[in-house]
Symmetry: C2
């Protein structure tokens, strides 16, 4: 992906805090002082949520029983609402959502393919970990958007309860078949690399790539810690 969300002038003269300051004083490392380019940012988030929706729909269709199927429809609905909310923001800006999403489709499609897993459990675990990581990443960039939109997107992209259903299904699966745990642990460790690449891809093509990467590093460290917490919550070693 050769897109860069960040406005050049902000990248050239960023209000950089030292890394030590950021990680020690703030409970959450934020990218609010980095200003993403609005339309590419919305386009990438919209397409990402659409891809997550497609993954969850596949998981609905292939659920092992009707109770899990029913639970996942809620999750799919919540992700679809995120997609639709971001599309609504693009429409407000008189931008065709398809045009805004198009540049991000190939890379995200490939990412979804790489992270779709070999069975239903890997599929839903993949959604849980990758969407958890990237929604969190996107939310930390929202602060740099124009104010009223930032407010709306913060609410929209908030972590939802869709994850609860997935966690419950994974726990039940691991309980029924303890061998699943080691397979999922391996899968979770594999996913984190590709997922970070999607976050980093937003910086590629920038004249100040090195500068951006330095600033994004503490955020990624923070997001990886969240990832480990998700693994731990299922009794898996990250």
């Amino acid at each position: 992906m050769v897109f860069n969300w960040f406005r050049k002038q902000r990248v050239i003269a960023p209000t950089l805090k030292s890394r030590g300051e950021e990680t020690s004083t703030a409970p959450r490392v934020d990218l609010g002082d980095m200003t993403p380019e609005v339309i590419p940012f919305l386009g990438q988030v919209a397409y990402f949520e659409l891809a997550v929706f497609e993954s969850l729909s596949r998981a609905v269709a292939s659920a092992p029983n009707l109770r899990d199927k029913e639970g996942l429809t809620d999750a799919a609905g919540q992700v679809l609402a995120k997609h639709q909310g971001v599309v609504e923001e693009l429409r407000k800006l008189k931008v065709d959502p398809a045009d805004a999403m198009a540049p991000f489709a190939p890379a995200i499609d490939r990412f979804e393919q790489l992270t779709s897993g070999r069975d239903w459990y890997e599929m839903i675990f993949g959604v849980y970990l990758t969407a958890g990581f990237l929604d969190d990443f996107f939310t930390r960039l929202v602060g740099g958007l124009p104010k009223p939109m930032a407010k709306r997107l913060e609410v929209l992209l908030e972590p939802d309860k869709s994850a609860d259903v997935i966690v419950a299904a994974l726990k039940a699966g691991i309980e029924a078949d303890p061998k699943l745990a080691s397979r999922l642990a391996l899968w979770g460790r594999r996913l984190i690399g590709d997922t970070q690449l999607v976050a980093r891809s937003a910086l590629h093509g920038s004249g100040n790539r090195k500068n951006d990467e330095e600033r994004i590093e503490p955020v990624l460290t923070d997001l990886i810690a969240e990832h480990s917490r998700r693994m731990d919550g299922l009794g898996l070693t990250a």
Copy 2:
């Protein structure tokens, strides 16, 4: 399917109107004086909407371009909202939605398989025709449910705008490839038989099957006329 929505006492002593009276005076033939059994009715409708959602999700995933994909997500969201609304009614009755849906899953799964089509156009045309027909059928039975629920379901199952997106995509497809028209016309004529069977299946297993079938006949005639109008709207001979 061996289920019968209709309460025996109402079927034994129905407030039957003559067929002539029904078709000549009412602009719309209704089944409001037939009282469906609440839980099986909700279970079948919930599972049917879930199956339509799954079909639309597949159509989202396999859309030929991003604009059609984006349009269909709206349609999928509207169908999902129908499913969730019906599930909500089951929860209000303290009924596990999975238990209520389970008896209807095999027949509806088979129906979805039979009507899924050979390509994207047949897939979305199938959803348009079968969901159009059966939503209409279900809506006509809603009048026989307990009042506040009937009111809520009437609003919920109302024809939505999801069809507009599908019609536009089909028209564009036919314009680009006129041969598609004759293929879709054939497909539409094939679908109507299986779709009627789903409607009729609600009567099977009843001690008064003959009686029910006589009463349902004018409704089916009316629904087939609607089906023909959908075909006509696309310039296809029903």
